[in-house]
Amino acid sequence: MSLVTPPVDGSRSSSAARRHRSVRKSSRRIFSSYQDHQQGSSDDEDKEERVDSNDPEELFQNIQFQKEIIANIRSRPWPMRRKLKVLKQAREIVLKYEGRLTRTRGYQTAGADLLKKISRLLYNVVVLFIPWEVRIKKIESHFGSGVASYFIFLRWLFGINIVLTIMTGAFVVLPELLAGAPFGTTRSKTIPKEHMASAQDLDTIWSLGGYLQYSVLFYGYYGRVRKIGSAGYRLPLAYFLVGMAVFAYSFIILLRKMARNSRLSLASASDENFTFCWRVFCAWDYLIGNPEAAESKGAAIVNNIREAIVEEQQKKRETSLAVLISLRILANILVLLSLAGSIYIIYFVVDRSQKLEQEKPELTLWEKNEVSVVVSLITMIAPSAFELVAQLEMYHPRTSLRFQLARVLVLYLGNLYSLIIALLDKVNIMSSSIPWVTSPIVCLQLPPSLSNWSDSSSFLMAAFEKTNRSQQDQCWETYVGQEMLKLSIIDMIFTVASILLIDFIRGLVVRYLSDCCCWDLESKFPEYGEFKIAENVLHLIYNQGMIWMGAFFSPCLPAFNVLKLIGLMYLRSWAVLTCNVPHQQVFRASRSNNFYLAMLLFMLFLCMLPTIFAIARYKPSQHCGPFSGQEKIYDIISETVASDFPLWFSKVMSYVSSPVVVLPAVLLLFMLIYYLQAIARSLKFTNNQLRLQLQTVRFSRECLESVSRCSSLFFHRN
């Protein structure tokens, strides 16, 4: 066992150490601290070192080495007694020699010690603040790590949304609330007169009009004054920068997490596939704590192993090939039809709502919320429909799960995109329509029929107000923000409703009606539900995509999402523990799985595009928002650079952003990517070579042994 250090190796290396001590001491020592079997030798060495070294630099190195041992001691697979002994030894040496250090070194070590103490204290405190830890551990023990991975993903998204909320809140919302023009002063902040009467209706509040529309919730409220408050806070610039920073932060944190995960698993680095080893060595989920889950896990492992053996032996199914293929083609056609259908329906509905708005002054509740309701209904129903269709295909469960995930992802993306395209169509109409400035002039030329001066003045006022209203209403950014927020709210309502109605009622029915019904409800249809990990994770990703799409136009959207995620966490964890049973067939969804993160990254990229497109293409509204009056939203940057920075800076910026600099930089990046890929390929090749080398070394060792045995036999006989 590795507990007992092999004495032969130890003594050999200690004699070698004695010989080379003066030459390569420090490098070998640092290297040897990560070698288990060298530990015995370094113990002996330390006793010798204690007598010799007087050189202050060597002393410092020695102390650093001992401190490294102390820092790394918990990574050693030794029993506690041995760790304690080594720790005491190392601490003795440090204490003994630290007194002999020079003053600067002394301060250095004291600083490092303090830092270590503080970081340990901080770590103990930070762990307290991780939310919902007990809850997740409970779910883990009942359902295994697959289901818990959904909740851990939810918690991570919650963290991201909190940071986004803090960013938008601190830099955009708060300054506007504290230092911006208060409600009712400017045109963009007052509710127009004809809407005033209905501003407090439930109807209006539900469709986010009235007071909600003219509040910090939406883009339209923010003033365009370049500097506000006594400190001269540049709100429009901050608004733009925070909008970009939201995306940048999300990208950075997502990429960082993916990089960390791939470093842990190393699976993406090589295409080695140790299916059997993994199924046996990594099969048991050590987090399971109750017998029911353990039994089902055991059964799942047996199935897993059996099916792997079967796959290996390549036994075929008995269904005839032709029927299978035709069924699969049929299933794919159905799925494609439904995807196309859902995209068309959404586009049609948005179009219709636009037309209705223009024709009828008063809309019913259904007509106002049609778009969001239809989208949410589709996202609820379609995945189950896809699952039913997938039963036609008769794939292996893992393959069908992958197909299901891909289809649901395409559905979500299609929905979001058709919605945003329809919205942007309307935005196009709104932002390019000519403001109705000519109307008062037209009215002034009306004279002959109007005898009463007051009549004409009131007519003038009415005409002027109508102009104002149409101009005020032409706030397309607020409109987009409203639609996104509405979608998010209704999606939440549908999620809550589906959990309560579908899972909970199903659980109740199975539990209490199984006595009255003629067949056992608990083991045949309808059974208790299983927690569908993949689809729920996709739904979380879809939700986050919505937030990213709307964050620029509605700064409070991340805050709303934070509340939504909290509610979702509590509701789902309650539902899973009350209404669901552990899976019968367990498929891998581990914590460090990069698959969901890759999908989130894809979603982030795609949801960033519409915002960038809208910023680059459309003229900001004339009368509302922080960028009103500019030609393009991003003009604020060039304006700031031109007016607030010294002249040479703007010259430098114009050089940097010209094609002369940008094109060579892009070319350089491409070359770098190609170079890194070439290195990766060569490393893989080296890896294979080393593996072959191992085999040949072993083979040649065996040959040598057999040869030496033969020769000894030969000499012995002679």
Partner: protein
């Protein structure tokens, strides 16, 4: 130590934090759970060894198919009876905690799977391993042909130097490539 058995010395607490991957709260919680298993008359919790069958009553270990091996591996008792002192108990928790490194986990996993303690995973070890995983009953365990096929496949995948057994480095090599092991 003080009169109550539920108090851990502060010095020992900081030592344990240094030597394991557990946070302060986790160590205190572990001490509480450990002292619940102590017999009533025993006051000094740190030096007493709890016998294996008492440890196996813990709900977290009860359903684990490798529970006996885990106790044997982490036990430092001279009589090799699988009894755990508090130090061993902390070692166990530290190795299974979230913050433990891959090297520690794979090292202990190897020792747990090595049923005959010979430093390598031979055919008997692998057979016992699979039987533990699948449960002991007749209908859940594999047939001999399936077992042979499975073990052949495992050795083919992981045995790099082709000596018929899986040693620690080969095991660590396989495990480090798995995306599931760390969790």
């Amino acid at each position: 130590m003080g009169t109550t058995a539920s108090q851990l010395d502060k010095g020992m607490l900081s030592e344990y934090q240094e030597l394991t991957f557990l946070t302060k709260q986790e160590i205190l919680l572990a001490y509480k759970r450990f002292s619940e298993l102590l017999p009533k008359e025993e006051t000094n919790g740190l030096s007493y060894r709890i016998p294996m069958n008492a440890i196996l009553e813990l709900p977290e270990l009860k359903t684990n198919p490798f529970n006996k091996r885990i106790c044997m591996v982490f036990s430092t008792s001279d009589s090799h009876d699988g009894s755990l002192s508090f130090d061993d108990f902390l070692d166990l928790l530290s190795a299974f905690s979230d913050s433990a490194t891959l090297e520690i986990k794979s090292h202990y996993a190897f020792r747990i799977f090595d049923f005959d303690d010979d430093g390598t995973l031979g055919r008997q070890d692998l057979e016992k391993l699979v039987n533990c995983l699948t449960g002991g009953t007749v209908d859940t365990s594999l047939t001999p042909e399936e077992m042979k096929q499975l073990i052949d496949n495992i050795l083919e995948e992981s045995d790099i130097d082709k000596d018929g057994t899986v040693n620690l480095s080969e095991f660590q090599h396989v495990i480090s490539r798995s995306p599931d092991f760390v969790s």
